[in-house]
């Protein structure tokens, strides 16, 4: 008989309806229902959320910190993606 704590799950919580789900931590559980119940007990004892997602940690794909530079590089030289790049004449009101 094995004796372990189950698999690791990532927990995401939505504070209020309409807001994004934000990662808040992990739980161990043996199936998805138990993962949800554990997440509720561990992370929402004080109404911290109205909705929860749980995802097996092994299902998360993450960017690797070593190539942060090159991976996000395409965004660096495109200042024209920001509104402040553009000149708008005075007197036309808020835009």
């Amino acid at each position: 008989m094995s004796d372990n704590q189950g698999q690791l799950w990532e927990v995401f919580v939505q504070k209020k309806s309409g807001q994004p789900f934000v990662h808040c931590g992990n739980v161990h559980a043996f199936d998805k229902e138990m993962a949800l119940q554990n997440a509720r007990d561990v992370y929402t004892r004080r109404n911290e959320g109205m909705a929860l997602w749980v995802v097996l940690s092994t299902a998360i794909v993450a960017s690797s910190p070593e190539d942060i530079g090159s991976f996000f590089e395409p965004a660096n030289d495109k200042i024209f993606r920001h509104p402040t790049f553009y000149q708008i004449p005075d007197g036309v009101g808020h835009m």
Partner: protein, 312 residues
């Protein structure tokens, strides 16, 4: 990249007050230091449930019982946050639990003292959680991201712990003479063990230097201890109780109290396993763990039978 380059990136992050995340490169000793510190912290939360759990069935009112239950449940949650933070460093939950259950791992010496009266429960919330908060507020800015985030969450919950303890002690201190005597007796027994919670004095603290260099800790044991005493004395005075230290004295020059050091030989002895309750605590943890074995086995078998097999 070679190691020297990795090390440079790591040092640069520390210098910028950036956080180190689980997948970032980190020196092996940094990882080891954190695994030890975070797992010990987790064990302390879990073992810390025992002295208070001991009084749940004997709480003097329904309100007191509800509050104590909620507090002890929070401590269990704190243990879980911290175990997962430690797991992100590459140690398994089973490995940590094993180290605790076999007596190889350490936990805070404070939980090896007995809770003899109801006043002890108030004293623990007020003093022990108070000292823990002081340490944990500092650790919110610890350099390891998952540890820091766990601390932010824990600190939010801790303030209720300290307040409920102080409220409970207040009732006793302003109650009958017998109740007041109980409160004083609890303060007498918990004062020095609480001061020990900050760890050995700086002059003989072997792990402090690295912990500060790596920004795992931001302040020294003695700095935190001094701040705790400064803050707590007026709380004692309000209660009309007396700090059990005849050398306690306001020092105008340092704008803080002078106070006696705890008995460091006693501290070392408790850490070594010879405190009043070390054996009892370990036995209780082992009993709870083995009595829960069938639940884990059943949950695992059930998980494997789920149609989608996500957790299989």
């Amino acid at each position: 990249m070679d190691t020297a380059k990795f090390e440079e990136v790591f040092e640069a992050k520390l210098a910028k007050n950036d956080f180190i995340e689980p997948k970032d490169w980190m020196p092996e000793n940094y990882r080891k230091h954190l695994i030890r510190q975070v797992s010990q912290h987790a064990h302390s939360e879990i073992v810390g449930m025992l002295p208070e759990g001991n009084w749940i069935t004997r709480a003097p009112s329904l309100r007191a019982k509800l509050v104590l239950l909620a507090k002890v449940q929070d401590e269990g949650g704190h243990g879980l946050y911290l175990y997962t933070a430690a797991e992100s460093l590459g140690i398994s939950r089973d490995e940590m639990l094993n180290a605790l259950l076999t007596g190889k791992a350490k936990y805070s010496s404070i939980f090896n003292y007995p809770t003899l009266t109801w006043a002890d429960i108030g004293a623990i919330g007020w003093l022990v959680d108070g000292a823990a908060i002081m340490n944990q507020v500092m650790l919110q800015r610890s350099s390891y991201g998952p540890y820091s985030r766990a601390m932010v969450r824990i600190c939010k919950e801790e303030s209720f712990h300290q307040r409920q303890g102080y409220e409970s002690i207040t009732h006793l201190a302003f109650g009958t003479p017998e109740q007041k005597a109980m409160a004083q007796d609890a303060l007498n027994r918990w004062w020095f063990p609480t001061l020990m919670m900050f760890g050995p004095p700086d002059r003989e603290s072997p792990n402090s230097e690295n912990a500060l260099k790596w920004r795992i800790k931001r302040e020294t044991n003695d700095q935190l201890r001094q701040r705790f005493v400064n803050q707590t004395v007026k709380q004692v005075e309000y209660l009309g109780l007396t700090v059990p230290d005849k050398h306690l004295k306001w020092n105008e020059a340092k704008q803080g109290y002078d106070f006696s050091e705890p008995d460091w030989d006693e501290f070392k002895n408790v850490i070594k396993g010879n405190g009043i309750c070390n054996k009892e605590r370990l036995a209780s943890r082992n009993k709870a763990h083995s009595e829960g074995a069938w639940v884990r086995a059943a949950a695992e078998a059930y998980g494997k039978k789920q149609p989608e097999k996500e957790a299989a």
